[in-house]
């Protein structure tokens, strides 16, 4: 194990803390020092809670001193996406409209992390209200990709992914409405999982598109993601869409993937996710990974999901429609920004002036697009039709999962693009989520894990694994097996190649 605490995995840190080799306070301080040293360049965090983190770490050390049993991630630091409410700690969702807001309650994910003695270092940067694929839509400035500071770290959870890749934190929480965990994972060389819809509580996760939003774990290894998954997942009576069933055994699956391999597993390669728009180096690394899965004993077949070609347009009708309704809550009356309250303007005018001042361009675009799609006269052609396409996509998944155990594809068509390159070209930006969106529409589970560097630019490529609803454990079994095989080929973790900051 390395002596640099920031380079260790979450599993290693937890065992070092439990054995008494290091204290939780030392681990937390090492990460706070790292943040102080490099976050000026990366900007992964919107708020660092040094005092709260050290307090939580001290509590872990006190528990250990008293001989109390520690949880599997006790004392391990984490970056929490700023979409989750934290009682008394700033929660902005990357928006000016919530600048300075101190939520009066904890999200269920926040509460579960605290109860598991995970140390929350602070709140990570994100595209405003999780709308974007580059973190450039944060009202507080973009996060930069540790692989190349001129490039985007993906989005919306770019802060969480960049915190991992810059060794500021071994764990992070993201949210995935159309790819916001998996696409940042892919372009930063980290692991990200979108659990089955309903697997992780949405209570206290500020809503963007309620039928698609799902929180999930981000980490540098598959096992670390599994350990975090089990901490945050499970039924929550405060979220009526939360699944009341046992959490799939993802930690055991990750261990089994390494131990027992994947011989006989049926893997489907999605026919639709290739061709025009896919970078050569992305396809090369993807195809090599598929060959490796075959070498490991998997049976690989092609699966045809024709309706996936319509997932992107369906998503950009459904998500904005739900967003236009969800974001109506920002009315300047009960919390957040208020503009134009001068005694003359009416409440309605104050609402419109506040939203104009407090929302950025992408949020405005999506609210208006959703308002349009839901308008009388357009509803059937747009929102209604998109909902039918959603049914067809689910049917394509059902048919495919009748033949295979998991499906694979590149996570995103290209490696990290330059900051500014697609910032004012919404349609180009939306293409980053081409391969991740179908999973959100069907509500099943997906993972991205690093599968190499593209030869033409030396930037990370992500492999996406998809599994049926509530079969999240399959992601971890396949992911861990592939991760181990790749590690053997490379001789070191991919992230070891990230430049010094």
């Amino acid at each position: 194990m390395t002596t640099d605490l920031t380079r260790r995995t979450a599993a290693e840190l937890a065992s070092s803390i439990a054995s008494g080799e290091v204290s939780a306070v030392e681990v937390t301080q090492a990460h706070l020092d790292r943040i102080a040293k490099v976050d000026e360049k990366v900007h992964a965090f919107l708020h660092v809670d040094a005092e709260g983190a050290l307090g939580a770490a001290r509590a872990v050390d006190a528990k250990r001193a008293k001989g109390e049993r520690l949880g599997p991630l006790a004392g391990v630091p984490l970056a929490l996406k700023d979409l989750f409410t934290t009682r008394g700690l700033p929660t902005t969702c990357g928006s000016k409209i919530l600048e300075g807001w101190l939520p009066p309650y904890d999200a269920t994910v926040t509460r579960r992390l605290r109860e598991a003695d995970v140390v929350i270092l602070g709140k990570s940067n994100m595209d405003e209200f999780a709308m974007g694929s580059s973190t450039e839509n944060s009202a507080y400035g973009p996060t930069r990709n540790p692989w190349d500071l001129e490039r985007i770290p993906g989005g919306s959870g770019g802060g969480s992914a960049a915190a991992l890749a810059s060794y500021e934190s071994p764990l992070a929480i993201g949210t995935d409405t159309g790819g916001s965990i998996r696409q940042p994972g892919a372009v930063t060389g980290t692991v990200g999982v979108k659990p089955t819809y309903g697997g992780v509580s949405r209570y206290g996760m500020v809503a963007f598109s309620s039928s698609l939003d799902q929180g999930g774990p981000c980490a540098r290894t598959v096992l670390d993601a599994a350990l975090l998954h089990e901490v945050i997942a499970g039924h929550d009576p405060l979220d009526s869409t939360s699944i009341d069933a046992p959490v799939p055994g993802v930690v055991e699956a990750a261990r089994a993937g390494v131990r027992d391999g994947i011989k006989g597993l049926r893997v489907g390669v999605v026919k639709q996710f290739a061709g025009e728009g896919y970078q050569a180096g992305v396809m090369q690394r993807f195809e090599e990974s598929v060959a490796l899965l075959r070498e490991l004993g998997a049976e690989v077949v092609e699966v045809d999901c024709p309706s996936f070609d319509y997932a992107l347009p369906a998503y950009y009708l459904i998500a904005p429609s739900e967003c236009s309704s969800n974001l109506a809550r920002f009315d300047a009356m009960r919390y957040g920004l208020r503009a134009g309250d001068d005694g003359n303007h009416s409440a309605e005018e104050v609402t419109a002036l506040t939203r104009e001042a407090g929302f950025g361009p992408e949020v405005k675009r999506r609210i208006m697009l959703g308002t349009y799609a839901l308008s009388s006269g357009y509803y059937d052609a747009y929102y209604g039709q998109a909902q039918k396409v959603r049914t067809l996509i689910t049917r394509d998944f059902d048919a495919a999962f009748g033949r295979v155990d998991v499906m694979v594809s590149p996570t995103t068509p290209t490696t990290a693009f330059k900051i500014g390159e697609r910032a004012d070209d919404p349609m180009a930006m939306y293409l980053a989520d081409l391969c991740t969106i179908p999973t959100n529409l069907a509500g099943n589970a997906g993972m991205s894990l690093p599968c190499g560097l593209a030869p033409e630019d030396g930037l990370p490529v992500g492999l996406q694994i998809l599994a049926p609803a509530m079969a999240d454990d399959r992601l971890y079994r396949v992911g861990a097996a592939l991760e181990a095989a790749l590690l053997q080929q490379w001789g070191r973790p991919l992230l070891d190649a990230v430049p010094a900051l």
Binding site: L102, P104, Y105, D106, Y197, G198, S211, P237, S240, T241, S307, Y310, P313, A314, Y316, L317, S324, A328, A332, M333, R334, G336, L337, R338, D341, G343, H345, S346, A347, E348, E349, V350, A352, L353, R355, F359, P361, K364, R365, M368, L369, T371, Y372, S375, Y382, G384, Q385, A386, Q387, K388, V389, T391, L392, T394, P426, M427, L441, G443, N444, A469
Partner: protein, 102 residues
């Protein structure tokens, strides 16, 4: 032909409670036109007998026991909530006038 005009964007902005500026109206009209043109592709698929999906999971009503819970779980503390309001007065949210002058 544009799918969406500048006048329509102005109307959408009103419905969306966004006091957009003139320059924004021009810019958004162009962008929304391109986006609406692209998403209209959903109509290419034959869906006559296909039921809509509003949600990935089949859902029925979910109820909870009618019991009082302590603050933060998830009952909120009134003082904590009002401290975060843009304006509060007499233990209530203070809001701008909601009725017109006439």
């Amino acid at each position: 032909m544009s799918a969406i005009t500048r006048e329509e964007v102005a109307h959408l902005a009103r419905l969306s409670r966004l006091a957009l500026g003139e320059a924004e109206l021009d810019h958004f009209a162009e962008q929304l036109d391109a986006i609406v043109g692209a998403v209209a592709r959903v109509s290419e698929l034959p869906t006559d007998d296909v039921p809509p999906t509003s949600h990935a999971q089949p859902l029925t009503n979910v109820f909870r026991a009618d019991v009082v819970r302590p603050a933060g779980t998830p009952v909120l503390e009134r003082a904590e909530v009002l401290a975060q309001a843009p304006a509060a007065e007499d233990d209530r949210f203070r809001v701008p006038r909601i009725l017109g002058e006439d």
